[in-house]
């Protein structure tokens, strides 16, 4: 009998090297498939077992996953862009132009970064609306909603800090206007403005601060909260599907039992 791809894969999974890297062994039993999830450092954040209808498109429209996908694209394109970009006043604008017209694939990477950034902001909002209108934020998932709001703010700050980096007229005036909005905070507005820009005007310090925030601080904080966000899905009882909620199940069970007695 000819070997199927599955046979080859099972053979590979049985080798000593594979077993030394991945802790789950061969086999397609329920236990083995559960172990493959539970014993993996990345996948163990998720539930080992989910109902098929929770993974159907209509349940979530995959908006959370798509948002995470755009985030991965942004990290994947942002790091290569950093190799050619100097966050300094004389070089920033020229580097941006070089990325567009001189660097091989630079235009592709920059445009992918830009469009993914727009898509991520859109998807975060769409994800929030979907969760809101399905009522998936309710007990016991309130805290995961709060983490989601934090992630929304991080997304907007990432978007805002990235806006300054091309150092063109649009960037300069957008950040001038945006930072002046921050200085409208009662009492400490001017202090916030000064700390944010590292000075009184959008200049070299502001560019460097926004760069560090955009490339280091905000992405790291985002990864941290995304981790907690995913982990809480499992801890709060999996993805929300109305038919599977304990309350709905109990409510549906009672009339059925009564009906059964009468017939």
């Amino acid at each position: 009998m000819a070997k199927t791809i599955t046979n080859y894969f099972d053979e590979l999974r049985g080798t000593r090297v594979w077993r030394s890297i991945f802790r789950s062994g061969t086999g397609s039993s329920t236990l083995h498939r559960a172990l493959a999830i539970q014993q993996n450092v990345f996948l163990h954040l998720f539930s080992t077992k989910v109902r098929t209808r929770m993974l159907s498109f209509s349940t979530t429209w995959y908006l959370g996953t798509l948002t995470f996908g755009t985030f991965l694209i942004l990290v994947g394109t942002g790091i290569p862009l950093m190799f050619y970009y100097h966050p300094s006043v004389p070089q920033a604008y020229a580097d941006t132009k070089d990325l567009q017209f001189v660097v091989s694939s630079g235009l592709f990477l920059r445009n992918l970064h830009r469009w993914s950034a727009h898509a991520m902001v859109f998807l975060v909002f769409a994800h929030m609306f979907k969760v809101f209108y399905r009522g998936a934020y309710r007990t016991p998932r309130e805290f995961n909603w709060v983490i989601g709001v934090i992630l929304l703010l991080i997304t907007l700050f990432l978007s805002y800090t990235g806006y300054l980096l091309p150092w063109d007229q649009l960037a300069f005036w957008a950040i001038t206007v945006g930072s002046n909005i921050a200085s409208a905070v009662p009492g400490m507005g001017n202090k916030i403005h000064f700390l944010m820009l590292g000075g009184n005007m959008v200049n070299a310090n502001a560019l460097l601060r926004f760069y560090v925030l955009h490339c280091m601080i905000l992405p790291l904080v985002a990864i941290l909260f995304v981790g907690v966000h995913f982990w809480r899905i499992r801890k709060d009882g999996g993805l929300y599907a109305h038919q599977s909620e304990p309350g709905t199940v109990a409510a549906q069970a009672v009339p059925a039992a009564v009906k059964g007695v009468n017939s």
């Binding site: 206007v177 700390l195 590292g198």
Partner: protein, 169 residues
């Protein structure tokens, strides 16, 4: 019968023993360290020396400016205006959200491109810099104008003065 020591009973949960003492010491030190870290971080993030341009701008000789002329210096963000009464300088930075305003000679007003604020310049019974319309919360401030020893007009962007104080040359 041996004499028993009298121990005053302490209400449960209110004992102050060695453990409680060390817990309080530990938490106290951590709080002090946290406040110190916050204070030092704030100081670290506030630059002590700024390499920003000087607030004082040299606007050149007075005779370069015609009477009833408005001159915008985009780099320093000021208007130097020569009215019948003398020289004065307005900040060109919009008081709304900090955009650079522009002089509209055909309309005789100053207008902001960002959100549409408009300001008077030469209008009878109106203070130059006062708002005509738009979201700007304050009029454009008047800046101090002086003459240097060489006879150049100097504008100090860090010093706002009372409106209608003209510099006569």
């Amino acid at each position: 019968m041996p004499e028993q020591k009298k121990i005053t009973p302490v209400e449960p949960g209110k004992e102050f023993d060695r453990r409680a003492f060390f817990v309080k010491m530990g938490l106290g030190s951590l709080s002090i360290a946290a406040v110190g870290t916050a204070a030092f971080s704030y100081q670290f993030l506030s630059p002590n020396v700024l390499y920003e341009p000087s607030p004082i701008v040299n606007a050149g000789k007075p005779e370069n400016y015609a009477v009833d002329s408005v001159t915008l210096d985009v780099n320093s963000g000021i208007y130097l205006i020569r009215a019948q009464e003398g020289f004065f300088s307005l900040s060109a930075v919009c008081t709304h959200l900090g955009c650079m305003t522009a002089w509209k000679p055909e309309l005789g007003i100053i207008a902001c491109p960002c959100h549409g604020s408009k300001f008077y310049v030469f209008e009878d019974h109106k203070i130059p810099g006062a708002k005509i319309e738009g979201p700007a919360p304050r009029p454009l401030p008047w800046l101090e104008v002086s003459l240097s020893d060489e006879g150049d007009l100097m504008v100090d962007r860090s010093k706002q003065i009372e409106p209608m104080t003209f510099k006569k040359v």
